[in-house]
């Protein structure tokens, strides 16, 4: 029989995640299933709820598939956070995404036992987008009000001496244009949707030989019961289009999406600088307490955080990430 699966996610349909990953993926699955698996994609939270509730929506079967960030619900998926710590992930989103999939299989499967994960991935390296001045050293953060995307980047910016300001994403463009905040840290790929390149004046990357400042992790997951209810042949079609290969594919989409985002910043004639290696080292030193704090948190859960970080780094290296 024909099955229609509803996909719910946060971003507008112009976003690369919708146009270059979910749409092509769903079309491919439909094709390979001989038209028996169909999809309805609901972007921009059209079906209601908050972004943080997506994980419950898919767990409870309100929708069939969601694409979201585990980081929206701190406390639920503590182990994947190892990838979101400062300077852990590589700059190559594809390699890090493959490593993330392997990492979850090895260490964090239990966290996602209520779901049928189709893929895990990360976005490209975080970039500092600032209105007032370029970031050339860790001292440049002093006195800047920064919007941070995740729990751990919030702490990291605080460790750099910036003032982290929490606010929902839709408020960021207005806050930047009015000067309520001085900057935001996100990858280039997010730039176009917020028109960041027009709202800020400077973009600061980190030395290409160093790991990414931060990345966020993402999950693409299906309702467990819905997956199990499918006939074997349809399950196989889905299996062929999930796992390590899908994670790698999404990571590649995100890596490639950084380029047009950066091109817009270049076209805007915004100065783009690279924070030198020596300065990045200072930033890493400043951010060390964030990592240590996370390890302490894990210890309270009887988890060896250092070993997890080591495993994450090893897996990233194994998949060719630097």
């Amino acid at each position: 029989q024909d099955v229609t699966l509803r996909i719910h996610h946060i971003l507008p349909p112009v976003a690369p995640a919708h146009a270059k990953f979910m749409v092509p993926w769903s079309e491919k699955v439909t094709r390979e299933s001989g038209g028996r698996l169909k999809f309805q994609i609901f972007p921009a939270m059209q079906l209601g709820g908050t972004p943080a509730q997506l994980v419950d929506q898919v767990k409870d079967g309100v929708v069939d598939i969601v694409w979201t960030l585990p980081g929206y619900t701190p406390g639920r998926f503590p182990l994947v956070e190892a990838f979101e710590l400062p300077f852990i992930a590589s700059r190559d989103a594809e390699a890090t995404s493959k490593a993330l999939w392997d990492y979850v299989q090895a260490h964090a499967k239990d966290e996602f036992k209520d779901y049928h994960p189709l893929g895990f991935h990360v976005h490209g390296p975080g970039v500092f987008h600032v209105v007032k001045r370029p970031i050339t050293s860790v001292d440049d953060f002093k006195g800047l009000k920064f919007r941070a995307p995740t729990r751990l980047t919030n702490r990291m910016l605080g460790a750099f001496g910036a003032t982290p300001v929490g606010m929902p994403v839709p408020q960021v463009p207005e806050a930047l244009s009015k000067g309520t905040i001085d900057g935001a840290v996100v990858p280039y790929e997010v730039g176009p949707s917020l028109k960041l390149q027009e709202l800020v004046k400077f973009h600061s990357e980190t030395d290409p030989g160093e790991p990414a400042v931060y990345v966020a992790t993402f999950i693409y997951a299906m309702n467990r019961a819905k997956y199990q209810s499918l006939p074997a042949d349809l399950k196989k079609v889905l299996d062929d289009n999930s796992g390590l290969s899908l994670s790698a594919f999404i990571g590649k989409v995100f890596r490639e999406s950084d380029e047009p985002g950066k091109a817009l910043a270049v076209a805007q004639k915004n100065p783009i600088n690279v924070i030198a290696k020596a300065e990045v080292q200072k930033m890493r030193q400043a951010a060390q307490p964030v990592i240590d704090g996370w390890v302490e948190e894990m210890k309270a859960k009887n988890v060896d955080g250092r070993a997890l970080i080591k495993s994450a780094q090893d897996l990233i290296a194994k998949h060719g990430g630097k």
């Binding site: 980081g71 701190p74 006195g143 982290p164």
Partner: protein, 166 residues
Amino acid sequence: MTPPADPIGRLIDRAARGFALFGGVLLTAIAAISVVSILGRWLLGKPIQGDFELVQIACAGCVTCFLPWCQMRRGHVLVDFFTNRLPPRTRLWFDAAGTLAIAAVAGLVAWRTGAGLLAVKAAGETSMILGMPIWWGYVPMAPAFALLALAACHGAAMDAIGATRR
């Protein structure tokens, strides 16, 4: 709209008033948190960390706690222009049914929000910056919806016996 005359009605009215005032406390807290955070950010470069999370959690509790009071004052608005010409007693029968519908929906939402509280608590979900448990935000909601259901039941009974005073 005057307070109910019967003892049960007065009791529900008192409870609804208490919830509304608690909502007022939360609303005052929202205003104070925002203003202190703005001043801190502007003058000292030190906002209240997680201010908008606090606002979100408080807002959920605040507006839910307002619902029963609104019901006791018959503030939940309905479309009257199709039934304006009906005799008042007949209109009250319709109102009894409509108010019972409030009770049904509010009771359902109270039950489900309670289940939501347990689910979110079991998941151990916290807020992004402060690490506050999210289920705290659900705590006032289930009782407030339950009280709304109770208030609506009482209102429907008053409508049915024709004792509603408007």
